[in-house]
């Protein structure tokens, strides 16, 4: 008989962004139980995580278990004791031959357990194992931890309740509807669960909630915002979109500010007119079915008006003091306790921007870029730091490269974000990030594991992206003050960037970096060369040969250096290899690999490197070392993982 299984964990409102991961985790935890099943379905709203599985057996299949007893040589008493313990006589025992000798054994039939019992036992622990980034306790100190309090649990296998208790809640067959549009207790079966929820204004499927929202947005020119859409999908049980408007006079404020208020503070979609300019309206998504009297629309409009008024108030009052006049105020803004104020940081950034090759605009931007931290608008909308400074600088007639550099200097804020728009802005962003990294590492504030309060990984990743994608050929290693921890921290970021972001293979990145990685633009070029060389037939055998050379040199403890003495070269493969190498010297590896490879192969085939004569041996090692060095400027090919 095949049964459907339904588990609903009813909670108080779970943070939207944690839900998809929690569901995936729930799936894995269920699969680990290894109960036969046909299909799994996962759904969630902010108040429930739901697992539905089809095709479970009522009863687990019987299994056989082999139990080892005493050695064959054991006294009869011990054998009888073992048999008695298994509920049989010694005659029922078998003899098993093992590496340690012959032993009595007994094969026991283990009756399969009822799936209901397995689940009743496993589910409480399984639920508490679901991963959440931050958990709480609510029944008292030492009590169970979960993302938010669990208030009800539906656990059904076929028609039966799977009985268990968790955090004082007994599993049952009662779910709960929408907080205000549905009933507080709703009886359900595995068959009618989703329908019953819908009757009580809960749309269980996230996909369906997404489609409903998108359908209701269809008539409006909404600025696409997938991230916001996902938030709204997981913050509602019964979403409905409404459109509101605001006074067009607010459009005098920068679009960045208006959009931030709508997007980050109010979770509204902003709306564009036919030309792509911001329109004086917004779309909010409610968690109720409809707003026939316009209460919700008017409420949201009033809140937005207050927020915009605040922003305008801040904008106007901030203009009373220009950015340049705020620089000295940065003495009162802490950058980091051990690293002093933003005024000190500003001085360091100005020096660094010039050292990196920045012109007077870059230095000016470095001087002003942190000044917006003292403005009311940034205190209110911290996520607009940099952007506000850029807008104020433009308004206060700073040259275009200056205000744009200020505007962009926090970029890139993620792997998806663009790097600053031009070279001047890129150098200012580099100066900011490098100063932060150098300072933090100098005072020992080094990220470990998931602890990275100053977002130093993001800063370093930003440096790497700006250098590579901005094609800036600065010697990165010279900028790290010889701090070994910072250097290896950067090495990790460089490796991550080229491997995970650009898709180069692990060994290609290792090989190319082993030949130097201070100039990241050059590193990228070499990686490209290796990538295109790799599929050619000679590449991997050559890499294997290079690895062999490296091993030979290491084993011989070859100190490096030395000059090849042609007179000591043996005619044949050794001399041929030398001549070939002389011919191709200075040519890129792509052009010569096919000529070189047979010579190398033949050399290893016919020539004994470890020659009895010390001078000959030394000369051969020098030849191999020279060969290796000649091609190691692009990469250390011995790092390449080969199949041979």
């Amino acid at each position: 008989m095949s049964l459907p299984f339904l588990l609903e964990i009813g909670t108080e409102e779970i943070p939207d962004w944690m839900i998809p991961t929690a569901l995936e985790n729930l799936r894995l935890l269920f699969e680990k139980l290894a109960i036969a099943h046909e299909s799994i379905r996962l759904d969630a709203t902010p108040r429930r995580l739901v697992l539905r599985v089809e095709g479970l057996p009522a009863l687990e299949a019987d299994s056989r278990e082999r139990i080892m007893g005493p050695a064959k040589s054991a006294p009869a008493q011990a054998v009888a004791g073992f048999a008695r313990k298994q509920g049989v006589t010694p005659a029922d025992l078998a003899i098993e031959t093992t590496p340690k000798g012959e032993y009595y054994s007994f094969v026991k039939n283990v009756a399969g357990r009822y799936t209901k019992d397995i689940l009743a036992q496993a589910l409480p622990g399984l639920i508490l194992q679901i991963y959440f980034p931050k958990t709480m306790y609510w029944t008292g100190k030492g009590g169970p931890r979960f993302i938010r309090p669990i208030r009800w649990i539906v656990a059904l296998l076929g028609d039966e309740i799977i009985p268990f208790e968790l955090a004082g809640v007994r599993s049952g067959s009662l779910t709960s509807g929408h907080r205000r549009l549905g009933a507080r207790e709703v009886a359900v079966t595995t068959a009618d669960f989703e329908h019953r929820l819908r009757d009580h204004f809960v749309i269980l499927s996230a996909e369906e909630r997404r489609r409903k929202i998108l359908g209701e947005l269809a008539g409006t020119r909404v600025k696409a915002d997938p991230g916001l859409l996902e938030t709204l999908v997981y913050i509602t049980e019964y979403p409905a979109a409404i459109t509101g408007s605001f006074d067009p006079q607010f459009l005098e404020l920068p679009a960045e500010v208006l959009i931030t208020v709508m997007r980050h503070h109010q979770k509204y979609f902003s709306v564009e007119d036919a030309d792509g300019n911001l329109a004086p309206s917004f779309v909010a998504v409610m968690n109720i079915a409809a707003d026939p009297e316009g209460f919700v629309r008017r409420g949201n409009e009033r809140v937005l008006r207050a927020r915009f008024n605040d922003a305008r108030f801040f904008w106007d009052s901030d203009q009373k003091k220009k950015l340049a006049g705020r620089k000295e105020d940065l003495a009162n803004v802490t950058f980091q306790a051990k690293l002093g104020s933003y005024l000190e940081k500003t001085a360091r950034m100005m020096t660094l921007a010039a050292e990196l090759g920045g012109d007077r605009h870059a230095v000016r931007a470095a001087e002003l870029c942190k000044c917006d931290l003292t403005t009311e608008l940034v205190k209110e909308f911290t996520e607009l730091q940099g952007v506000v400074g850029g807008l104020y600088a433009r308004f206060q007639d700073e040259p275009e490269p200056v205000w744009q550099s200020i505007y962009d200097h926090y970029k890139p804020e993620s792997m998806e974000d663009a790097i600053p728009r031009h070279r001047t802005a890129q150098l200012v962003a580099l100066a900011d990030k490098l100063d932060t990294l150098r300072g933090c590492f100098r005072v020992g504030m080094i990220p470990s594991g998931s602890r990275d309060p100053f977002a130093l990984r993001r800063a370093a990743q930003g440096v790497v992206r700006i250098l590579v994608e901005g094609k800036i050929e600065l010697p990165l290693l010279d900028l790290l003050e010889g701090n070994q921890e910072l250097i290896s921290f950067f090495a990790d970021r460089v490796r991550f960037y080229f491997r995970d972001h650009c898709g180069f293979k692990y060994d290609e990145v290792s090989a190319a970096m082993a030949a130097g990685w201070s100039n990241l633009v050059d590193l990228e070029a070499r990686l490209e060369r290796i990538r295109s060389l790799r599929p050619t037939p000679d590449f991997e055998p050559m890499a294997a040969s290079f690895k062999r050379i490296r091993n030979i040199l290491e084993q011989a403890k070859f100190p490096g250096g030395g000059v090849i003495n042609p007179a000591l070269l043996e005619p044949g493969p050794e001399k041929d290899l030398y001549d070939e190498f002389q011919n191709i010297a200075g040519q890129p590896i792509e052009n010569v690999i096919s000529r070189l490879r047979p010579k190398v192969d033949l050399f290893f085939d016919k020539v004994l490197v470890n020659a009895p004569d010390a001078a000959v041996r030394q000369n051969r090692l020098t030849l191999l070392n020279t060969l290796l060095a000649g091609f190691s400027t692009i990469a250390d090919f011995s790092e390449i993982v080969t199949n041979s």
Binding site: I235, Q266, F295, A331, N332, V333
Partner: protein, 296 residues
């Protein structure tokens, strides 16, 4: 339409009906209702407790001379503590909104993640900000730690921003226009406070005097807390409540100095640490003092 004070009456009655002690505001300046001993000290220990009170909350840096329609130096918080938090706490909270005339089938209510933290109190909790038609009207927190101590029993703390809530119900764009009671607006009652305290906090507070006061209150708090002896048979009569008052004084002076722009880079982190150290010391002594000896 309910007036400001009617809304306060209704909410107090609602929570009184649910077993809360109705307290009057604490008579020392605080930045939030959480800092009042009725919350900060009562959440410690295993005893059940329910209390509600309106606490004027002073945040010197938020003053705007009475010019800004939504920002106040001193606003009124209704603070509700239910210890332990009942299983239907959210239902009870929604019921309180309905009690003041909000039909939640016609309004949009959302619980958005917002974990509260007060570094100066060594306190934090898990919870939400409650949004009503896009307006944040409440903070809802399950306390986890207070005074650096893991709580034995988890209380729920509900705070209502009474001015905002009233402005919402009365559909007013400015808090100064809300009706306090018939014939009096909020502005009639409170505008002078906003103007004069803004002038004091931003322009006239004498910085050396405030520092001196801070040091004096800190000295008294530190002196007292050092005298507390957990082994003393007379420890129950030790004046920890007056000690805590000294901590509250320091906290408010710190906020005023901060608004005045008098806290420099190097000082700021340090001063927060000083207040926190006092608050944590009092909380730990309090937990010891109130613990049941039988258990030991």
């Amino acid at each position: 339409m309910s007036s400001f004070q009617e809304i306060v009456f209704k909410l107090k009655q609602y929570w009184a009906d649910r077993g809360c002690i109705i307290q009057e505001p604490y008579d020392i300046e605080v930045g939030a209702g959480t800092m009042v001993p009725e919350t900060f000290l009562r959440v410690l220990g295993p005893e059940a407790y329910r209390v509600a009170y309106v606490q004027p909350s002073r945040r010197p840096a938020d003053g705007r001379y009475g010019d800004n329609p939504n920002r106040l130096y001193k606003h009124s918080q209704l603070q509700v503590i239910l210890k332990p938090a009942p299983a239907d706490i959210i239902e009870q909270y929604l019921g309180s909104l309905e009690a003041i005339g909000i039909d939640l089938r016609r309004h949009d209510i959302k619980f958005e993640e917002d974990n509260w933290e007060a570094p100066t109190l060594g306190a934090w909790g898990i919870g939400w900000q409650v949004m009503l038609d896009g307006l944040e009207i409440s903070q809802f927190t399950y306390f986890q730690q207070c005074g650096g101590i893991d709580l034995e029993v988890v209380p729920a703390e509900l705070t209502y921003g009474l001015e905002r809530l009233t402005a919402f119900l009365q559909a007013k764009d400015s808090v100064y226009d809300i009706e306090w009671t018939k014939g009096f607006t909020y502005g009639d009652v409170r505008y002078k406070d906003e103007l004069q305290y803004s002038v004091y906090n931003f322009e006239m507070a004498d910085i050396p005097t405030l520092w001196k006061l801070f040091d004096l209150h800190e000295g008294e708090a530190t002196r007292l807390v050092k005298l507390y002896d957990p082994k003393s048979p007379l420890k129950k009569r030790f004046p920890l409540l007056p000690t805590y008052d000294q901590v509250l004084k320091c906290s408010n002076i710190f906020n005023t100095l901060d608004a005045r722009g008098a806290i420099s880079v190097t000082e700021r982190v340090g001063v927060i640490q000083r207040v926190r150290k006092m608050a944590v010391a009092v909380a730990q002594a309090w937990a010891d003092q109130q613990a049941n000896e039988v258990a030991q």
